[in-house]
């Protein structure tokens, strides 16, 4: 380990740039775990965060799946919510104006057809409060859409191409981990003009109640999140960051500043906190503060200098 002299935390520059989205620090909140931001106002000043990623937005509102929608698993949880959301119009009319102007908002976008993704982006393109888009190409629990886009390289390429034509704002693509080669999917997105990547979405999973002999979720399959998936996510961020030049936002079971630092070291420019928001609604702010403190303790004047700073001993 190369030693550096410690700094005072206020001397650390925590700003990062995620594919054209300027963030005051590298901590965002993950889509689907943070509502539309306003739900967290009693617990956390959202201006302490790098930004928030909205619930995935569709052209029309969606009501979601029948219960049971969630289940706890070992160090994780399963969900099959069904992409319930208020729709892009209500997001613009009601949700965006309720957020402080200094909160950076990334709009997560979803559709059951490629054109629907483009329509949502086109609707948000003129909204100055939207800093960029995150294409949800990977939700594993919706029977139509989602999984197909993120799991096949040719389909993913066409999706990114379609959305890119409608989106001038910075465009992130959120990748599915349910693929053979994350590096290939990362390269496909870069090749079609994505400005950055978010990874990983939830791992497709299943759990069962042996007493009733039924799946725990009504939808049978769900997405696994939480600390259980963290080493898998970290591996994928590491592989993707070696495959592309565009910046990566690391996601998967981040609970502490140390967890977030691991993602930075493995090549993530920023991170998203997801499931941890449920147990501690103030945790994303604590992680942002903790990253700054860690950088100071290790003598990094810029948090951005931690990105990809993993030291791999020679063999």
């Amino acid at each position: 380990m190369s030693a550096r002299a410690p700094l005072a935390p206020d001397r650390v520059d925590a700003r990062v740039n995620l594919g054209g989205i300027a963030l005051r620090n590298p901590v965002l909140t993950a889509s689907g775990t943070f509502g539309y931001g306003t739900e967290f106002a009693p617990f956390l000043d959202l201006r302490r965060l790098g930004g928030i990623v909205s619930k995935s937005l569709t052209v029309a509102p969606r009501t979601g799946n029948l219960p049971a929608r969630i289940a706890e698993t070992a160090s994780g949880m399963l969900n099959a919510i069904g992409l319930e959301n208020v729709g892009v119009e209500a997001f613009v009319r009601e949700k965006l104006p309720a957020l402080h102007p200094d909160v950076v908002v990334v709009a997560s976008v979803f559709g059951t057809e490629m054109e629907h993704y483009a329509q949502v982006c086109a609707r948000l393109e003129g909204e100055p409060r939207v800093a960029g888009f995150e294409i949800n190409a990977s939700c594993p629990h919706v029977k139509s859409g989602g999984i197909e886009f993120g799991q096949r390289a040719d389909v993913l390429a066409e999706l990114v191409r379609t959305v890119r034509r409608a989106a001038r704002k910075p465009l992130l693509v959120k990748l599915s981990p349910n693929v053979t080669s994350i590096a290939e999917m990362a390269r496909v997105c870069e090749g079609e003009g994505a400005d950055g990547l978010s990874l990983v979405n939830t791992l497709q999973a299943l759990d069962v109640d042996v007493e009733t002999r039924r799946p725990l979720l009504r939808n049978v399959l769900g997405g696994l999140s939480g600390p259980a998936i963290r080493p898998v996510a970290l591996r994928m961020v590491f592989q993707a960051s070696h495959a592309v030049k565009i910046p990566i936002c690391g996601i998967g079971g981040i609970e502490t500043a140390e967890d977030a630092i691991k993602f930075l070291l493995c090549g993530a420019t920023a991170v998203q906190v997801g499931t941890a928001n449920y147990r501690n609604p103030a945790v994303a702010g604590e992680i942002a503060d903790g990253i700054r403190a860690h950088a100071a303790r290790h003598g990094f004047a810029r948090v951005a200098d931690l990105v990809g700073a993993l030291e791999v001993p020679g063999v």
């Binding site: 739900e39 969630i70 994780g76 609970e255 147990r279 103030a282």
Partner: protein
Amino acid sequence: MSARPAEAAPPIRTRGIVRENRPEGSYWRLTLSVADFTRFAPGQFVMLSPGAELAAPRTDPLLPRPMAVYRARAAEGAGCEVEVLYKVTGRGTALLSSARPPEAVAVVGPLGRGFPLPPPGTRGLVVGGGTGIASLYELAARASARGDVRVLLGARSARDLEIARDFAALPLRLRLATEDGSRGRTGLVTELLAEELATSDPLLVYACGPTPMMRRAAEMAAAAGQGCLVSLENPMACGFGVCLGCAAPLREGGFALVCRDGPVFEAARVEWENLA
């Protein structure tokens, strides 16, 4: 009728100091002192993270547990003493039962929309079954302080009804039923409800318990032309409206969130068939 509590305070995340945590019949009674809490509405709940706070980050069990506030009273000095009644049914509650004074546990609350008190001139008919009784004490206490209240509690056996003594100390009429006949009437609490509904007096039925019990109570109240509120229980990860895990289907279509829109609902709105 709105189920909006008249005195809801915004939720906070804070620590509760364990004052007492002991078995009582088939339940455990946990008393937390929470310096930052000011007030609760009857029927509101908290999310408790089992396991000592500030210990090494615990990831299993991962999620906090929703717990009805059984009783809340102003503490000496500042804040609230919050009592929670629970049964040890899994890993989370087993861990919770190991908490000893003066450990701290993480608490988020107060959460949800609780019970409105009965309107003047209307008798409150409070019907509790099993662990659902834990949601009803504050309602019974506050409603009986200003009007006519009857409480009907049912459970499997006498061991499940030791907490009835708290209700017996209130100025209300209390009736009990057990399935094994070890205390009160032998049978289901809904049989007591049938007798209480045989009146032309205006009533408001409040029900909390197993889903079949609440559904039956709702049907009986509707048949008698009386109002009925139920407090639903659903798995939830957050408690404040973001995980969307606790969605309950509504007869009018779509879903309501038990944590944010409830847990108290007008019974007529609930689509019982597809409740998780």
